[in-house]
Amino acid sequence: MTEIDWDLVLGSLGPIAGGAIRGTIPLALASFAVGMVLAVAVAMMRLYGNRAAKAAARFFVSVIRGTPLLVQLFVVFYGLPSLGVTIDPWPSAIIAFSLNVGGYAAEVVRAAILSVSKGQWEAAYMIGMSRRTSLLRVILPQASRVAVPPLSNTFISLVKDTSLASLILVTELFREAQQIAAFSQEFMTLYVEAAIAYWVVCLALSSGQSALERRLDQYVAH
């Protein structure tokens, strides 16, 4: 076995960390934020929409979950231009990842909303709240406690899935590693380094999840 080229490792730390900070992390955060708005909207359509809205929401979830993320990404970036719609790498990635998160998280949000007892809606109505206010101030805060663990899974998957964006020319963690690997021909070193970098990011996110759960748990009986 050949020796590890530590100079290469040290020298590549900067670009890989830069790829994480300028690419992977903002891409994941932006996609997750947009995706969650979409997820709540789709969940509301499925729960409280009319027949057409319910069908549309079910169709959306089915398509997103039934097709590979890589294919969705390629449809947006390489497919749409043939219809005359050309979107830059970054917005393409955010669109595809948001839709993906929206499809998966919609089911989590729907289940979490259903887990809040009907009495909470009634108490909110009783004090004079509209449906919207009830949802925002009474139901969603309670549903969020139920939703945090599964949504953390969704988010961590998303962080790793952003590596696919390297295939539509987004400069992020994995693309930096690939470029250095191609140049130095040290594939093992660079790809293991990339793997460790993803792992570190996910570890940091998991500790964030624990903190959030502790905060949301304070008002719940154990």
Partner: protein
């Protein structure tokens, strides 16, 4: 805090011909009721008789299929499906206390009481807080203002439920079996508070199995059976000398459960 002065001889609450069905089952069949300001109406009846549905029709948590409900000058005729805005206008006139409390578990005791006045009624924060603390003081729970509902006993939670209703400054208080979910030794505190409220002149509709409470506190008792008000009158008459055989059986069973 006290309810609005009696300024009119019109009933505060009037219910005319209210009917409700769930699928094939007729839960309410043309119910009529009137409650004057300052009066307490106790609604009794077996479980499944429709008494809780009747109460829930008064604030639109259930929407009747037919009939009319009026609280003061806010009336809804249910021959057409009411708009959410209409339901909310009716609901704003009353406040309800639930059998299972339904406090907001993610808010403190104080926040449970102030949520409606602050968020819905948009009253000034200082005033709302002061009132809420005075209410808590009154029931001996001021020291628990910062606690979460799950840290309270059932009896304490239900008293907070009543305070949450009072803080809305409603004209009519609706109670849905407020002591049915409580351990027997915790019932007393809740009933005492309700007795005090009645004595202060609050107008109340109380669905209850506590016949002793109904006898002492209510001016009217309505016995609901199979979706109808089968018998209706002063507590002495309905509870002691019922005209209807079914009322007699029901009262008898509750008073001598063994």
């Amino acid at each position: 805090m006290s309810p609005t002065d009696p300024t009119t001889t019109l009933p505060l609450l009037s219910v005319e011909g209210v009917s409700k069905r769930f699928g094939e089952i007729e839960v309410l069949r043309s119910v009529d009721l009137r409650v004057a300001r300052g009066e307490v109406l106790a609604v009794i009846g077996a479980s499944g008789s429709g008494k809780t549905t009747l109460l829930r029709c008064l604030n639109g948590l259930e929407v009747p299929d037919a009939g009319r409900v009026a609280i003061a000058d806010t009336a809804i005729d249910f021959s057409a499906r009411p708009a959410p805005r209409e339901l909310r206008a009716l609901r704003d006139r009353s406040a309800m206390v639930f059998q299972h409390y339904h406090l907001f578990p993610h808010r403190t005791v104080l926040e449970n009481i102030t949520e409606g006045p602050l968020v819905v009624q948009r009253r000034p924060r200082d005033q709302v807080h002061e009132e809420a603390l005075a209410l808590l003081e009154r029931v001996g729970l001021a020291s628990r203002a910062g606690a979460y509902p799950h840290e309270l006993s059932g009896g304490q939670q239900q008293r907070v439920g009543i305070l949450r209703a009072l803080a809305l400054r409603p004209e009519l208080l609706l109670f849905d079996e407020p002591t049915s979910a409580l351990d027997p030794e915790l019932v007393g505190d809740v009933l005492t508070l309700m007795r005090d409220l009645a004595a202060e002149g609050w107008t109340m509709v109380v669905v209850t199995h506590e016949l002793q409470f109904a006898r002492e506190v209510a001016q009217q008792v309505a016995f609901v059976d199979q979706g109808r008000v089968l018998e209706h009158g002063a507590p002495e008459q309905v509870l002691r000398a019922p005209r209807e055989e079914r009322t007699r059986q029901f009262v008898h069973r509750l008073l001598r459960p063994l």
